[in-house]
Assembly symmetry: C2
């Protein structure tokens, strides 16, 4: 077990300019684990209801995702619905039915407890603490979160910062946490709160990686068409830690590559609904997209 991913599993309804889909695979763990699977064999912890489609289980297995930590409980799977405005200016949540996810209490199988890498995907910080409490090893921990927890569980989150190696957040969340719009200052404040590695995601503008006094700017791929941005951030962090868990190299140069491969997978993610953009990719697809990142940013 080299990589553990703990987060949500859901069935999403998405309404976007290009169309709409109902009860498609969603939740942070779906995106994170499929993205990570191109580099590592991730093991997930999560809960779904009895209505969770067998086809999605098959999809995970096809991507060599270890499902030992998946529990199927009586009741319905977590459902989320969102609508994107034209031009993706805005996203409105249509509904959030937690269902079996409401009482999710992540319990790690024994085989998970010695993992070298842990991705705390977006769930309540209290549950993220609980995951770390169960580890025997001292893994490299990557933390994802969201504005909801900054607003409602800030103390838990701040305490968590001292227990993780890398924090991955978006520009708006960085500003909420630090009251700084300047990325350099925001990153320094976040580093002082605990994580040695800070990644600030900037959507179509790419991402910034900070470590000690070093900075790396990954470009956002200039895409002709965005179909569905749902899960792009989860996909980014999943691929990032998947690459890291495979290479086991924490040098700044290798972390740059992890950020680039996160960006590569995220660029596929937004090109289709749900996880459709990141399933069953060939190695040549990844190579071609990596080359596109090289071409657009090297001088």
């Amino acid at each position: 077990m080299s990589l553990i991913i703990v987060g949500s599993l859901a069935l999403d309804t998405i309404v976007a300019p290009a169309g709409s889909v109902t009860d498609v695979p969603g939740g942070s763990t779906s995106y994170c684990s499929i993205a990570a699977s191109y580099f590592s064999n991730p093991s997930i912890v999560g809960v779904v209801g009895e209505d969770f489609p067998e086809s999605v289980i098959t999809l995970f297995k096809d991507h060599r995702v270890d499902l030992t930590g998946l529990s199927i409980e009586s009741g319905k799977t977590f459902r989320w619905g969102g609508r994107y405005a034209d031009n993706f200016d805005d996203r409105t949540t249509l509904f959030t039915d937690l269902n079996v996810f409401e009482s999710f209490n992540p319990t790690l199988p024994e085989t998970y407890k010695d993992a070298g890498y842990v991705l705390l995907a977006n769930i309540h910080p209290g549950l993220q603490h609980h995951v770390l409490d169960q580890m025997n090893s001292k893994p490299f921990v990557v933390l994802d979160t969201m504005n909801l927890w900054i607003n409602t569980a800030l103390d838990d989150l701040i305490a968590l910062f001292k227990r993780v190696d890398m924090l991955v957040i978006n520009d708006e969340e960085a500003r909420m946490l630090t009251d700084e719009r300047n990325f350099a200052k925001a990153a320094r404040k976040l580093q002082a709160m605990g994580p040695k590695w800070i990644v600030i995601k900037k959507g179509q503008h790419g991402a910034l990686l900070f470590h000690e006094s070093q900075v790396f700017s990954a470009p956002g791929l200039v895409l002709d068409e965005v179909i569905d941005p749902t899960g792009a951030g989860d996909t980014f962090v999943g691929a990032l830690i998947g690459y890291l868990a495979q290479s086991k190299d924490h040098s700044f140069d290798n972390m740059k590559l992890a950020v680039i491969f996160g960006s590569v997978l995220a660029s596929f993610c937004v090109e289709n609904f749900s996880v459709d953009g990141i399933t069953y990719l060939e190695e040549s697809d990844l190579d071609d997209r990596y080359d596109a990142f090289v071409l657009m940013s090297q001088f």
Copy 2:
């Protein structure tokens, strides 16, 4: 005369979080010409009043700016005042006193008319047409503009697009002109309007260069401190065309470097008030800053 720059010359009053300054060098031509001077000897066309400080004339001369096309008229110099909000969220115009600039009608000295490069810095599109009408040569023309002319002189501007080689605008202006938030689509629409080269400036997120089907993404330097963003866009385009006029190489690879040197100079610009960040730089300053761009974007 290899490079002609036509734009405004002003004395600015700037109120920013770090302090305020009064009657300091401003206007697009001041920034453009000083930035270009690190690569070429730019020749400017512009008008100032009798109150224009001799010290600024000296500053231009120190930077090898050819002032043959500068006319000093009776009356006062164009004055502009602006105030930046905390965090640079917003800029409010305090006053705009056009003074002698109100009747500016750029007339090119004979020695300018065979230039190989022309920068139409930010002035009314009608005046920009008038500049091109006077050229004997068929120069490489770079066009800068602003939201004011998109709102008030759109027909003139659209007609101008067919006469220029490169359009340099910011992300908001690109959206105003194309109704597209997607950069790839916006750039394609702009290319269809005339300019073969499109540069979209994204502030602290860097800049995008488009030519045919090629794209280059220049990073924004992550700066600890921004003092005054006034003129950063002018500085960017000035350095860009200055580099181009020196190298005379219109390959995509060389254009990438022109965009990077534009970004290098712009990063110096914002570190101090007015043009203070870009005056009297040493070659080693430019080299060090270029290296910082390499370090933060190459993987």
